[in-house]
Each structure stands twice: as structure tokens, then as C-alpha cells.
């Protein structure tokens, strides 16, 4: 595994890399032209970016490629990804692109592509886009049909209109909410929400930053524990939320200062949404907590487990009718709800949690403590690609007494306990996840790590 291979990834998920050493201007131009070729001719494309400094360069290249293919561009400037997706539908655009590396560190950047309805491309569509990119035969138009750029500065306002139609901001005014923006785009929405709705979002790390973020922008319990959780009690906040840079993911801190596992966002929202959508489905990947099944069973819902990764969730969604689904998401704080036509939206997820507090009259820690205790352990081991099949075979034989699933890597279930070993799609590592009802499954976790390491 060379260094170069770790700095650029071109896949069904789009284009992602470390700017300079991996991701270059030429990749951006070609991907933009490929997307411009992929979309229906003539339609407008919505473009926005997160605050990374490299986003300035990438935006220029993206605009050039789209204009050259005859698409007009609606330019939102610095904008949260859910707002970009919202604007695609509102402006009836042919598609959209979000420039930003979300929860990755500042030196990374990425392009995320959206179709006409504002949702991620399906795997089949993304495959077509990739083929055009590799073929490099782009549908450039002649000089009379080249597109033009129009700036749009009402996108956040219109997005807030839509949020206000789905959530009762007036009722949420009573909460004192602490938010760690991690120098990302969530501050743009929340500051405006305070002005417009009188809500009390207290923002930390709210300054938009292009180069140095206050901390690692991942939505994990560890990141919540850095600055957000310790401030909860001193500021007497009712709930705490941490957003990644482009605001599509969220993590939580309870009012007593406890950093909450990122795994809990999905079960919390399932508990909130299932009672009003009895019998509906929750789409989750096979690496997220088994608490979901318990909560689903309580409300007569059902969990559909899919492979890890955005594409699997997107593809699963498209195999059901929207009214069959209550919720879809991952154990990373990325959750889609039907209210927003299934878009990963950290802001909407936060408002749903706050609405839950309001409607139940309970505190966040009271709600969380009412759930059976599950303990999850996550680890990772650098991989040697050649030996992965042998590793998975070996583990499968060793743990053949459990229920085996090979949907994505290897998952083995026993009553009240499971583990999942899989290869990361974004980094050259093997991920090991182990969960148990009650106390942490330390012994199982350690022996799994040891076995995986023996193949490295």
C-alpha cells in the first residue's frame, strides 16, 4: 500500500482525496465534465462548498466543466450539504454537487454528486458517471450553448422555511442548546434560526475556517468529549450537538455532560419516529447497534440491515416505497428521514431529537438511560489486501457456532452479542466492531483484534 493510494479515491461515492498530493485540478475538471455529460442536457446544476480553502480552487474547476457542457450553474457559495440538496428540488435543477470532505480533516476534499431529486446517485447512476469519467469523452457544447453562473443567496432562508413547516420552532425556544459547529457550515443555519425563530442555539467553534478546524470534524463520541460535553453543565444546556463540516452528520451530548455514542442517533430517532409510523421499516447497516432491533420491536417496526456505506443505504431506499420507511441511516450520525425526502441532514436530525425532548417532557439522559444497555467496541488494523479472503474464511470457521452473515465482510451473531469484521471503503484498514448487551465484550474484541493482526 503506497502513500499515493491513500490520498485519492475515485469510486461510486465520487471523488475524494488530499488536495495537492492526491486530488488535483485536473481530476476536478474531468469529473465536472463527466457529470455535465451524465446529466440531462441543458438543466441547471446547483453548486455549493464547505469552507475548506481548497474548495475555492475546486469550485472554479467544477464551474468550468459544467458550463462547458452547456449547464447553467446556481452557485450557493459556502453552503451546508443538506441545503444544497434542498435547493436542487426547490429550483427544479438537473442535479447538484457539494464540494466538501464532510467529516474528514481539513487537507481532504471531495465532490458529492446529486441527481434531479436532490438525493445521491444510485450505484447504477454512479457507475455510469465513473465510466464517462474514465472514457474522457465529454459532451462539450459549442460556443453558442455554453452555460452561465447565477449566484443564489436565499437558499438557507428557503431551507429554514421548509424546516419550520416540519418542526415547531416556537416549542423548541425553551431549550438551551449547545452546538459545536467545528468551524463548518452549520453555524450559517443556526445563527439565522436564532434570529428568525428566537431559538437559543449557543454556538462554539462557529467561525467559518478554511485551513484549521478546532478539532477533528468527525461526529464521534470522542469528538463530542473534547469541547462540547465538558461545557454542557457549566452552560446549563439541555442538549448538545456536534456537526461535521458540511452539516449532514450529527453527534450528541446529554445535559449531564455525558458524551453520547454516535451509534445512539439512529435508535433515538427510531424511538421518536416509529410510534407515529407503526410497522414501518428502518434501514441501517450491519455495523450499527442491535438496540435498533429492540426499539423497532417495541413499536412494531422492522430493521432492514444492509452493507456499510452510503451507496448501500441509497440503493436499499430505492427498493421500497417511501411510505414504507420510517428512517434510514448509519451508526455514524448520518440519518435520513422521510420529512426531507431521505437526505442525510444533521440539522433536521437535531430538530427531531429536540422535538422528542419537548414531546416526551424527559431529558436526553433520562431517555437514553431508559434503553437497555449495549456496549460497543470499535477498532481497526492496517490491512494486507492479499490476505483478506483468507482472514474472513478463518474467522468464519472459528466462530461457526454463531449466526453468520457475509453481506459485507463477516458478521457473526449470538443472542445478545455480535461482531463485524470488514474492510473500510475509504481507508486501507480492517474495521472490527463488537457489541454486547450489558458490559463491553472485551475478551471477544481482543481475540478478534489479535486474529486480524496475525494476518497483517
Amino acid at each position: 500500500m503506497t502513500q499515493a493510494a491513500k490520498s485519492l479515491r475515485i469510486s461510486h461515492v465520487g471523488l475524494r482525496g488530499v488536495v495537492g498530493s492526491g486530488l488535483t485540478a485536473s481530476h476536478v475538471l474531468d469529473f465536472a465534465a463527466a457529470f455535465g455529460t451524465f446529466l440531462d442536457p441543458g438543466g441547471a446544476v446547483v453548486v455549493g462548498r464547505d469552507p475548506r480553502a481548497s474548495g475555492v480552487m475546486i469550485r472554479e474547476g467544477l464551474l468550468a466543466g459544467l458550463l462547458a457542457c452547456g449547464h447553467d450553474v446556481i452557485d450557493l457559495g459556502i453552503a451546508p450539504t443538506p441545503v444544497i440538496q434542498h435547493s436542487i428540488r426547490r429550483r427544479n435543477a438537473a442535479g447538484g454537487v457539494s464540494i466538501g470532505a464532510s467529516h474528514n480533516s481539513a487537507e481532504w476534499n471531495a465532490l458529492k454528486f446529486f441527481g434531479r431529486d436532490g438525493t445521491y446517485l444510485s450505484t447504477a447512476e454512479a457507475g455510469e458517471l465513473l465510466d464517462i469519467y474514465h472514457l474522457k469523452k465529454f459532451a462539450f457544447v459549442d460556443w453558442t450553448h455554453i452555460g452561465h453562473v447565477t449566484p443564489e443567496d436565499r437558499a438557507i432562508e428557503r431551507y429554514l422555511d421548509d424546516l419550520a413547516a416540519n418542526y415547531d420552532f416556537a416549542a423548541l425556544r425553551k431549550f438551551r442548546v449547545l452546538v459545536d459547529c467545528c468551524n463548518g457550515t452549520s453555524s450559517l443555519i443556526l445563527r439565522r434560526a436564532n434570529e428568525r425563530f428566537g431559538t437559543e442555539f449557543i454556538l462554539i467553534n462557529e467561525k467559518i475556517e478554511g485551513v484549521r478546524f478546532a478539532h477533528d470534524p468527525s461526529t464521534t463520541r470522542d469528538a463530542v468529549a473534547l469541547q462540547l460535553a465538558p461545557l454542557m453543565k457549566p452552560l446549563a444546556a439541555d442538549a448538545g450537538f456536534l456537526f461535521d463540516v458540511d452539516s449532514d452528520r450529527v453527534a450528541l451530548a446529554a445535559e449531564d455532560g455525558t458524551p453520547v455514542s454516535e451509534e445512539m442517533v439512529l435508535p433515538l430517532l427510531a424511538d421518536y419516529l416509529l410510534p407515529r409510523a407503526p410497522g414501518k421499516l428502518i434501514i441501517a447497516n450491519i455495523s450499527s447497534t442491535a438496540l435498533l432491533e429492540e426499539i423497532a420491536a417495541r413499536h412494531g417496526g422492522k430493521v432492514v440491515r444492509v452493507p456499510v456505506g452510503r451507496q448501500a443505504a441509497i440503493d436499499a431506499l430505492s427498493t421500497y416505497r417511501p411510505e414504507q420507511i420510517a428512517l434510514a441511516g448509519e451508526g455514524t450520525g448520518a440519518v435520513m428521514m422521510p420529512q426531507f425526502r431521505f437526505v442525510y441532514d444533521g440539522i433536521a436530525s437535531m430538530l427531531a431529537v429536540l422535538s422528542m425532548l419537548h414531546e416526551s417532557g424527559r431529558t436526553l439522559s433520562q431517555i437514553l438511560n431508559s434503553y437497555p444497555k449495549y456496549s460497543i467496541l470499535k477498532g481497526q488494523v492496517p490491512l494486507v489486501t492479499q490476505r483478506i479472503p483468507a482472514l474472513l474464511m478463518d474467522l468464519r470457521e472459528r466462530y461457526s457456532d454463531g449466526h453468520v452473515s457475509v453481506l459485507d465482510g463477516l458478521r457473526v451473531d449470538w443472542p445478545g452479542r455480535w461482531f463485524h469484521v470488514r474492510v473500510s471503503q475509504t481507508e486501507p484498514i480492517v474495521r472490527v466492531i463488537c457489541e454486547q448487551q450489558g458490559d463491553p465484550p472485551k475478551e471477544l474484541f481482543e481475540s478478534l483484534l489479535e486474529e486480524v493482526r496475525s494476518f497483517a
Binding site: V18, V19, G20, S21, T24, A25, S26, V28, L29, D30, A32, A33, R52, A53, S54, V56, M57, I58, E60, G61, L63, A64, G65, L67, A68, A106, E107, W108, N109, F138, F140, V141, D142, W143, T144, I146, G147, H148, V149, G210, V211
Partner: protein, 452 residues
């Protein structure tokens, strides 16, 4: 049309038909090579009014930012205005997105150094090698700088420079009735302001909408300026000006609506310049001998260069010339304003001469020595070029020759013959000039006879 002419990447930069040939990817890569060559710092980007300009601007900005440069967008402006801004603000360099007088489906990148001048021929070679090697600087997130815009400073700097060398009050006093055809190009807004507001002219303008396509052939020549001639007659203007899409070239019509010979326009500008400042003159070797006569009247020397603005500019720097240009394509270069083709200096010079002398422009032109020119082209077979040139030289034994660009035979009394192979087609371009129509016909016929 042969495919290869639709894209040309060479020491002059990159030029082609936008779409399948001049792609955003190529423009971005070329800009990144440029940014690598000039180094991290401010790089100015401006453009003419072509519909592909906005798209190419973004591609160029992407390449420059990727190389770690600060991008300063100065919007739609004439090329000389862009060059002056680069020099005056001491940027690392500048890029003008314009295909000058080429048809609207074309676009190109013109590249300038920190003084706002063309790179010399050696530098241009280095830059081209850098492009071909794809050996670009690739800035990281920490190293990537910003893109900013400033649409007002550049026109002001340019006009201020021109006004330092003309008596604007004198021109304003006359309240000249002036016609303008800006071809809906980069001069559309600025030239109207310059002639009407700065020089106080009673302006009658056509084709000054930068959002519209070019309404005529972009190159301002007598045969493309019918609309201007008509406007002259209907408005009763005393002088008419026509620009090309990027506002560096100038054509002039007299009060009768007749479009002047571009060599004569240059001669009038040379005369105006030499009345102001002492020094020599540089023109390309196809420019009329009228320049030599005008320079001689001021006791000044004329240097000749191969065809091409960059060649003229390079020589002008070397000999510290006070004026120069290329007759046939309407380029007037007055280094005291800036070492670039500048239609604004040309317009101001002619208006000032009219104010000074009180004479109509037709009379000023009529007082220039009269020369007659005939140009044409003929197909030739590969491999025969050398023997043709030799035969031509032998048929005029003992005359002075210039071989810097094809073959020029310098005959007595300002007559000359020039032949050179076209860079783009298997054609020989021929030109002859003499003091009488009969003589020029005879010279031209002697050249043609060599092809029998």
C-alpha cells in the same frame, strides 16, 4: 477545415475552437503551468466578451489557484487595460482570455509577465516545456490562496496613463462628433466612457452591448466596417473608430466614411508620437514604407522585425523605441503608456492632431506620402520553397535582403517585395509595395512569374 487548425498550442500560448478542441481541462492545465512558472503570488485574469469567456475564466482560475496563486478577476476589459493593470499593480503575471480578432467560436489565452508584457521568446519556450512535462506545482489546502475581484481600478489606471500624454482639455473643447463600432467587444463600455465622458465627444456608437455576439467579422478592416461607414454618413461624424473584440486593434474612418489604410493610421500615430518624444520606431517587415518617410521627417530611424506583436515589442524594448506597431493589423504601440497594442492611445492621438491642426482626418491622411501595396498568396509544392526564394533573390541582383521572416527584398525608393510561407497552410504569402500603382503591379508580376 483541417482539424489541426482548430487547436494550436505553441509558444504564443493556447488558442482554439471552444468545445471539443479548446476544452476547460486544457485551459486549466495551461493556467496551472503558467502559475507554476510565475510563482505563488497575485495573477490577474481578464477577458473579452466571447460567450466562452466566463467558462474559461473559471478553468483558468482553477489552474492558477491549484498552483498556489492569488487570483484577481478584473472582468471584461480590453487587453491593453489588463496588461497595464498587471504592470501597475506588480502582479506576478496576467492572463487575458481572448482570441483577439478571431471568429467568435475561437478563444485563447494571452500570457503576460509581471510588467504586463509578453514573455520573450526564450521564456515562452520554457513555459511550453513546463506545460508538456505536466510538472506543475500542486498547492495543498494550507497553500491555496483566494480569488478576489476588482472591476473598477483597471480602466481608471489605463485612462490615466493615456491622459498623461494627450491634451484632453484641448480635445474636449472641440466637442468632436465621433462614431464608434466596438463590435460588442471588451471595449463596449470603456470606450464609450472614454470618448464621451473623458474626451467630451458627441458620440454616436453602435455595437456597444457586451452581452451580445459580434455583429460583424471581428477583425476591423475596410471590408468589414460597412456599418461604421454608414453611421459616419448618417451621423455626420468627423472621425470614426472601430475596435476588435479585445480592444487592442484600431481602425479609423474619415469624415467621408472611407476607412483609412491601417498603415496610414499607424503613420499618423508615429507622427504624433515623434512630435512628443525623441526616439526611434519599430515595425514589422510587412509594414508600409510610409513609416520610414514619417520617421525620416523627424530624423528618426525605423527598425524592422518579423511579423507578430511579441517580436515588435521585444525589439522596442531592446532599442528603447518611442513608438511602434504592425501596420496591416491596426496595432499601435506607445511604450510611454504601455508596451502593448493600445487602441485608446491611437484614438487620443488622432483626436489631438485634429484639435491641434484644425484639419479634418482626411486631410491629415492625404498629406502622408503615398504608397501602393498588393498582397496575395499562391500554393507551392513542399521542397520547392528554397529554390523559389533563391530564384527571387537572383532576379533582383545586388539588392538588400532581410531574412528574419521569409524573404524581403528592399528595393530603392521605399519599394519592397516580401514572400513567406504561411505557418498554417501550404501557401506562400506575397506582398509588394511601391510609390506607383504601375510599379507595384510590375513587381508583383515578376514574383508570380517565378511560379510558372
Amino acid at each position: 477545415m483541417p482539424r489541426e487548425h482548430l487547436l494550436k498550442i505553441g509558444v504564443s500560448g493556447i488558442r482554439g475552437v471552444v468545445g471539443d478542441f479548446l476544452t476547460p481541462g486544457l485551459a486549466c492545465a495551461f493556467a496551472q503551468a503558467f502559475g507554476t512558472y510565475v510563482g505563488a503570488g497575485r495573477v490577474v485574469v481578464g477577458r473579452d466578451t466571447r460567450s466562452s469567456g466566463e467558462m474559461l475564466h473559471h478553468a483558468v482560475a482553477c489552474g492558477l489557484l491549484a498552483a498556489g496563486c492569488d487570483v484577481v478577476d478584473i472582468g471584461i476589459l480590453p487587453t491593453p487595460t489588463i496588461q497595464i493593470f498587471v504592470g501597475d499593480t506588480r502582479a506576478r503575471g496576467g492572463i487575458a482570455i481572448t482570441a483577439s480578432h478571431n471568429p467568435p467560436e475561437y478563444n485563447a489565452l494571452k500570457l503576460f509577465n509581471s510588467e504586463g508584457l509578453f514573455f520573450n521568446s526564450y521564456e515562452r519556450g520554457e513555459l511550453l516545456d513546463l506545460y508538456h512535462q505536466s510538472d506543475f506545482r500542486r498547492a495543498t489546502n494550507e497553500e491555496i490562496r483566494r480569488a478576489t475581484s476588482d472591476y473598477v481600478t483597471a480602466p481608471r489606471l489605463h485612462i490615466e496613463r493615456v491622459l498623461r500624454h494627450v491634451d484632453a482639455a484641448r480635445i474636449r473643447q472641440r466637442r468632436f462628433r465621433v462614431a464608434l463600432d466596438a463590435v460588442n467587444g471588451a471595449g463596449s463600455v470603456m470606450t464609450v466612457g472614454f470618448l464621451r465622458d473623458t474626451l467630451g465627444c458627441d458620440l454616436h456608437a453602435i455595437s456597444v452591448d457586451p452581452t451580445k455576439p459580434f455583429p460583424r467579422i471581428a477583425e476591423p478592416r475596410p471590408d468589414t466596417l460597412g456599418d461604421l461607414s454608414n453611421l459616419m454618413r448618417s451621423s455626420g461624424a468627423e472621425i470614426g473608430f472601430a475596435q476588435d473584440p479585445d480592444g487592442d486593434r484600431l481602425a479609423v474612418a474619415d469624415e467621408t466614411g472611407r476607412v483609412l489604410d491601417n498603415d496610414d493610421v499607424l503613420a499618423l500615430a508615429v507622427d504624433a508620437a515623434l512630435r512628443r518624444l525623441p526616439g526611434d520606431v519599430v515595425v514589422n517587415l510587412m509594414t508600409s514604407s510610409v513609416i520610414d518617410e514619417v520617421a525620416a521627417a523627424h530624423g528618426r530611424r525605423v527598425y524592422r522585425t518579423p511579423v507578430g506583436e511579441a517580436n515588435v515589442v521585444e525589439m522596442m524594448q531592446a532599442v528603447k523605441a518611442v513608438i511602434g506597431g504592425e501596420g496591416s493589423n491596426g496595432g499601435i504601440i506607445f511604450p510611454a503608456v504601455h508596451l502593448c497594442r493600445d487602441s485608446y492611445t491611437g484614438m487620443a492621438f488622432l483626436l489631438e492632431r485634429m484639435a491641434e491642426t484644425g484639419e479634418p482626418i482626411s486631410a491629415l491622411a492625404a498629406r502622408l506620402p503615398r504608397f501602393y501595396r498588393k498582397i496575395g498568396k499562391v500554393a507551392y509544392e513542399h521542397g520547392r520553397l528554397g529554390s523559389l526564394m533563391q530564384a527571387l533573390e537572383e532576379s533582383f541582383p545586388g539588392v538588400e535582403t532581410d531574412r528574419s521572416d521569409g524573404l524581403k527584398l528592399i528595393l530603392p525608393a521605399g519599394a519592397w517585395i516580401h514572400v513567406r510561407a504561411s505557418n498554417t497552410e501550404p501557401l506562400l504569402r506575397m506582398a509588394a509595395e511601391a510609390r506607383s500603382e504601375a510599379e507595384v503591379e510590375e513587381l508583383y508580376a515578376r514574383v508570380l512569374s517565378l511560379f510558372d
